[in-house]
Symmetry: C2
C-alpha cells in the first residue's frame, strides 16, 4: 500500500475533459487506498492550505466527474516565478505537503505547470523531503512539448470542426439572398492548432472552411479579401475561421481586447467582428460572425472519445508513475500509428516539457496560407474521433456533478497571498 | 392517389430541424406517390422556376436529411409585399404552379411566410386555380401565433441552456484568479424566448445564468451593473445572458451592427462585447464574452428530441392537411399537458397566424427583470427534453447529407427578379 497522500491540482484554462483526468487520478488512487487531496483553485489553494478532501466524494460522483466540464476543484492563473524570486512560495508548498503527509504531487496543466512541478521537485530534493512530482498534461492549445497531443485539444477540435460544418450548412442555405460570409473566431494565441482543426470540417477548395487565418501567417488584408471574393464568386458564399492570435505583419495582434492576465499575456478577443467589419465595408458582402469563446473549451456535450481516452490515460499513468517513484516526469501521449490510430503513454522528463512550446509544423499549413495540408489532416483526424460517453438527465441537460469540496483541517499558520 | 405535385419551399433563417420537416414532407408524400418539387432557395427559386426534383434523391439521403442542419433546398430572405404591390410575383407563382401541375404548396417558414402562403391561396382562388396552400411552422424565434411553440426553437433552447451550463462550469473554476463575469449574447430580436431558455441551465439565485437581459426589459445600465456586482460578491462569479434585441429605455438597440436585411430589419450583433466592455471598464472585473450567432441555430448535434418530433410532425401533418384539401391553414402544435408533456397537431387558419407575433407573456419574466418565472420554466422545460437521433461518421463528424438538387426542366419564359 502506498504511503502518505497524493495532492492533485488543476492549473490554467480548463477543458472539457480535465475532470476526466481528475476522475481517473482519484479512481486509480482509491484502487491502492492512496488518499487524494486536491488544491482548491489549484496552486493558490495549496499555498493557502485550502485542500479538498476527495475521500468525502462518493464513487458515483467521481464517475460523473468524468463527464463534467470545467475544473471541479477550481483552477487558477497563478504562475510561480523562478525559485530565487518566489522562494517563499516554493518553501510554503513543501511545508504544506509535509504538514499533510503528501508524498505525491500531481500538477495538471500546461507549460507553466510543468515548469512549476519541476521546480517543486528540485526544491523537495534540496530539502530532502520525499516528494514525487508529476506533471499531467492538459491544454486546449495543444502546445505542450514531447507529447503528441494534449488532453483537452481533441474535444475543442471536435467542437470547432462540427460547429464550422453546421454553420456552413446554414450559410449555404441563406447565401442567395442573405449572408455571404461567415466568420468564426477560435482560440489559439500563439499556435493555430484549433484553427487548423476547423479544417477537418471539409476537404477540397470548395468546402468549408474556405479560409483559415492562422496566427503563424501574417495577416495581409488585401490578399485575404481577394481570396474571400474569389470564393464567394465561385461557391456563392464563404466560411472563414480566424484565430484570436492573428497578427499584422509588424507583429501587433489584429484585435486586442485590452488588459493583461496574471501571466502578463495580452487578453485577446474581437478579431472575428473586426474582420467581419472589414469584409462588409470593403467588399460590401453581408457578413455574420461568431465568437464561441469559453463555449469551445467547455463543450463537454461534444467531447471526443479519443480525447477522453487520453485524458483518463494520463491521469491513470500519473498515479502509476508516482507510485513507481518516477520523479519530475509527465505521462506523454506517444502516437505509434496514424492509420489505424494507435497510441501509448510514455513518461517524458519535465525538463523537456517545461517552458517549451510546440509550434505547428510549417508543413501543416497550405502553401497559400489559408488551409491545412494532408499531413496536418492525418495528424488531426484521429483526435476528434468518437463521441465521449455522456449521460443526459430527464430535463434534457447533461448530468454534470457538483462535488462537495470539503476542506481538510488546516495545520499551518495563514499564508496571505 | 393524389393528383398533381406538391411544391415545398423553405423560407427565412434556417434551423437545426427544418430539414427534419422537409424529410417528413417528402416521406409522407412518397407514401402516397405524390411527387415533391422544392423551390431552390425558397420562393426565389419558385419565381425563377428553379425547382428541385426530389424524386431524384434516394430514400437513404432523405433519411439522412432529417439529421442535417441548414436548409437543404436553400432558403431566402425575400418578402412578398401585398398583392397590389407585388401582383406580378403572385401571378408568376400561380403560373409556375400551373406549368408544373403543382396542386399543393407548402411554405415552411415564419410570420412572413404564413402571410405569403395565405396570399397565394387567395390569388389562386381568384384565378380559379386549384391550389391548396399550407403554412408549415419554423422559426428559432418562437414568435409564431396560435402554435404553442415553433419547430427550431426547442433545439436552439437546448443548445443555449447546455452551453450556458458548460461555460458556467468553466467560469466557476477560473473565477478565483481570472474571469469573473461571462457574457453570452443570444439571438432574439424582438422577443426574449431564446434568452429565457438559457434560464433552464439553473434554478435559484446563485445558479447560472445569474442575469438574463431580455429585449422586453429596457436596459438600465446602473441597475444591471449593480446586480452583477452583487452576484460576484455573493457567488464569486457571474454569468450574464443578453439578447441581441436588448434596447435602451428610449428604444434604441444597445448594439446595432449596421446594415439592414432584405426585410428592412436592422442587422444586430455586438451587444455581448459591448456589455462586456462596460462591465470591465465600470466594475473593473475581468470579463469574457461569447456570441455563438449561427452556431446556436444550426447546432444539430445538440438538437432536442421534442423539437425534432415537432418538426417531423408538422411536416407529416402538412401533407395530410394538403391531401385533405384544407386550404390556408398551418399545422400548429397544441399542448394538452405540461406534466407529463403531451401535445397534438391541430390546423390553425393562416389568417390567425400571418403577421401576428407571439410575445413572451409578461408573467414569464421575473419581477426584477433578470430571470424567468416558474410558469416560464414549466412552458420551456419539455421543449429541450431528449436528444434527437444523430449518426456520426468514423471521422468523428455528424453524418450530414448533401442532396443532388437536380432541377426539373423549365417550361416558362425567364422571370428576372
Amino acid at each position: 500500500m502506498a504511503q502518505g497522500k497524493l495532492l492533485y491540482a488543476q492549473s490554467g484554462g480548463v477543458t472539457a475533459v480535465i475532470n476526466a483526468t481528475a476522475a481517473a487520478v482519484i479512481e486509480a488512487a482509491r484502487a491502492v487506498k492512496l488518499p487524494v487531496l486536491a488544491g482548491q483553485n489549484g496552486i493558490v489553494g495549496v499555498l493557502r492550505e485550502e485542500l479538498i478532501d476527495t475521500r468525502k466524494e462518493s464513487a458515483a460522483d467521481i464517475r460523473r466527474l468524468a463527464q463534467t466540464p470545467g475544473g471541479a476543484f477550481g483552477s487558477c492563473r497563478f504562475k510561480l516565478k523562478d525559485i530565487d524570486t518566489d522562494r517563499a512560495h516554493y518553501e510554503r508548498l513543501i511545508d504544506v505537503c509535509r504538514a499533510h503527509d503528501v508524498r505525491y504531487f500531481l500538477y495538471n496543466g500546461g507549460n507553466d505547470s510543468a515548469d512549476t512541478a519541476l521546480k517543486v521537485s528540485q526544491l523537495a530534493k534540496e530539502f530532502d523531503y520525499p516528494l514525487t512530482c508529476i506533471g499531467v498534461p492538459k491544454t486546449v492549445d495543444n502546445d505542450l512539448a514531447v507529447t503528441d497531443c494534449c488532453p483537452g485539444f481533441g474535444s475543442v477540435a471536435k467542437y470547432t470542426a462540427t460547429s464550422v460544418l453546421e454553420a456552413s450548412y446554414d450559410v449555404a442555405a441563406m447565401a442567395e439572398s442573405s449572408t455571404k460570409v461567415f466568420v468564426m473566431e477560435v482560440m489559439g494565441r500563439h499556435a493555430g492548432w484549433i484553427a487548423a482543426a476547423a479544417g477537418l470540417a471539409g476537404n477540397g477548395k470548395d468546402e468549408p472552411p474556405h479560409l483559415i487565418l492562422f496566427p503563424e501567417v501574417p495577416y495581409e488584408e488585401k490578399a485575404v479579401l481577394a481570396e474571400i471574393q474569389r470564393v464567394v464568386d465561385r461557391v456563392g458564399w464563404c466560411t472563414v475561421v480566424v484565430s484570436e492570435g492573428l497578427r499584422h505583419p509588424d507583429g501587433r495582434f489584429v484585435a486586442e481586447a485590452g488588459g493583461k492576465d496574471a501571466f502578463g499575456h495580452v487578453q485577446l478577443g474581437g478579431v472575428g467582428p473586426t474582420l467581419a467589419g472589414t469584409i462588409t465595408s470593403k467588399l460590401g458582402l453581408k457578413t455574420h460572425w461568431a465568437v464561441p469563446d469559453y463555449l469551445q473549451r467547455s463543450a463537454r456535450h461534444i467531447a471526443s472519445q479519443t480525447d477522453y481516452d487520453h485524458a483518463r490515460a494520463v491521469g491513470e499513468a500519473a498515479v502509476a508513475l508516482a507510485l513507481a517513484g518516477k520523479n519530475a516526469v509527465m505521462p506523454a501521449i506517444k502516437r505509434t500509428s496514424d492509420q489505424p490510430y494507435r497510441w501509448m503513454i510514455e513518461p517524458a522528463p519535465l525538463k523537456k516539457v517545461a517552458n517549451h512550446e510546440k509550434k505547428m509544423p510549417k508543413g501543416y499549413i497550405r502553401r497559400d496560407g489559408f488551409g491545412i495540408t494532408d499531413s496536418c489532416r492525418r495528424y488531426l483526424a484521429p483526435l476528434i474521433r468518437g463521441e465521449a460517453p455522456l449521460e443526459y438527465g430527464r430535463d434534457g441537460l447533461p448530468k454534470f456533478v457538483k462535488l462537495r469540496r470539503l476542506l481538510v483541517a488546516k495545520k499551518l499558520p495563514d499564508y496571505p497571498l
